[in-house]
Point group: C2
Chain length 260, copies 2
Amino acid sequence: MSLSYQPLMKPARNKKKEQEVACEGCGLFALCRTAGMDSPNSPDFRRLVKRRVPVAKGEHLFRPGEKLDALYAVKSGAIVTTPEEGHEHGVSGFYLPGEVLGLEAMADNHYRHEARALTQTSVCRLELDELGTLGDRQATFTQALMQLMSHQLHQEYRLFQLLGTHSTEQRLATFLLNYANRLRNNGMPYLEFRLPMTRRDIADYLGIALETVSRVLKQFQDRGLLEVRGKMTRICNVDGLKSLAIRWHGDATAPSPHPA
Amino acid sequence: MSLSYQPLMKPARNKKKEQEVACEGCGLFALCRTAGMDSPNSPDFRRLVKRRVPVAKGEHLFRPGEKLDALYAVKSGAIVTTPEEGHEHGVSGFYLPGEVLGLEAMADNHYRHEARALTQTSVCRLELDELGTLGDRQATFTQALMQLMSHQLHQEYRLFQLLGTHSTEQRLATFLLNYANRLRNNGMPYLEFRLPMTRRDIADYLGIALETVSRVLKQFQDRGLLEVRGKMTRICNVDGLKSLAIRWHGDATAPSPHPA
DNA sequence: CCCCTAATTTGATCAATGTCATGGCGGCCA
DNA sequence: TGGCCGCCATGACATTGATCAAATTAGGGG
């Protein structure tokens, strides 16, 4: 492997400009477009979609049991969700720029999870109350929403396999590749990045002990697959990692979070 | 515990009359109703919904990559699905009467899994090609479909937690309770039942070794929680099992597979 | 009813990984 | 800049559960 690497730096101390995903790469794009994105400043559209709403680190998007009022798409930063009741097994998902939260709430109009910002984050809010104003575009909208849901459903099935059945090494390798690919889907740097969540979050998400996360990362590093310094992470040997990861049906590339 | 139990019998040798779920308990009910169930013999409805299609044991409903043409609801019997590629980690889901298959295929109009009958089974087929004939009921239909998908999405999130993070004992206890509750939702006997899948299927589904399934079941039996004889299973101590299972948000009752 | 095959049970062994304990580092605030 | 607190790394140890091997049982077809 090439040795032109810079050493992994501490994350910049200054206000880092957060990478923001373009609308075209966002899971809500099909919905926004239907909702009138062609004229993003029209009153109709602005009522339906609140763009770039800032969410401070640690702040909540929604909590379990709250009434569903909007779907969210992460624009920059990251969101973590934890399941309803017990904090016992903490983390049900990480949401990166372009990814959509809230779909599972549509069954009964109440959010199921707690959604919290892992860092300074901005999101777009799609106001479901305002759907009535869509008129004859509503059918198209519903169609797009359904595809989005079906897609997310399928993602779940796959993650599901991941967690149930595999070694810690496989889980972590898959997690890292999946993470990298999701960054890449947004046109962000994906071989060197900051993992915004704690080791404990990762451990809970993958269903392993947090010490094991540390150890396996270290081991990956010793094998030259990775460089890790705290939350900063660089993937040095993609193929090596891929060979450890669970074959994600044919390649290790995560599909983009938006359908079609 | 009461001792009025009959010993667990071998499943009857004679053609057992399969328990069939009523339409009202079926996940497709909202869709069928919209599609014109009020006159179930009308040509329109009969074109849209094929009822009680028999599927022989081992026969396939669909295979990965096939074009999505219909949603299925299990009417009696059981279906197992296995993920697309590798038979390596075999089982992604079991579907009991009233439960719906195929939703995850709507993202790109191709089935993702292989769906196979575990026993003599009958299903209802909802023909998606015929949706055009719905006319102005289509919006209602789409709405119901979306709720169904959201619900299933949420189910996935929960299973997900189950598999990732818990001991074999917890997984198996949760699996059994979940199974029992799904039977109960259909008004079927739910404390004594036949598990139609093999130990290997269960093991793959839960992400543990098949020998472990045997051992833990044995151990449950020794503790008086269960009686097991081959595939026949009787839950003797529900509360005991519940105390072992993962707290399935507040109670161990599985929600019915259909929304609202 | 018997036989054959596949499913299941059971036992022995051991590697993987969780748990507990401790020390160090880093980020954040005054 | 210094100190504090929470996150992280690492070591020792315990335990779970996978693997390998083999005996037993069940059930479907002739």
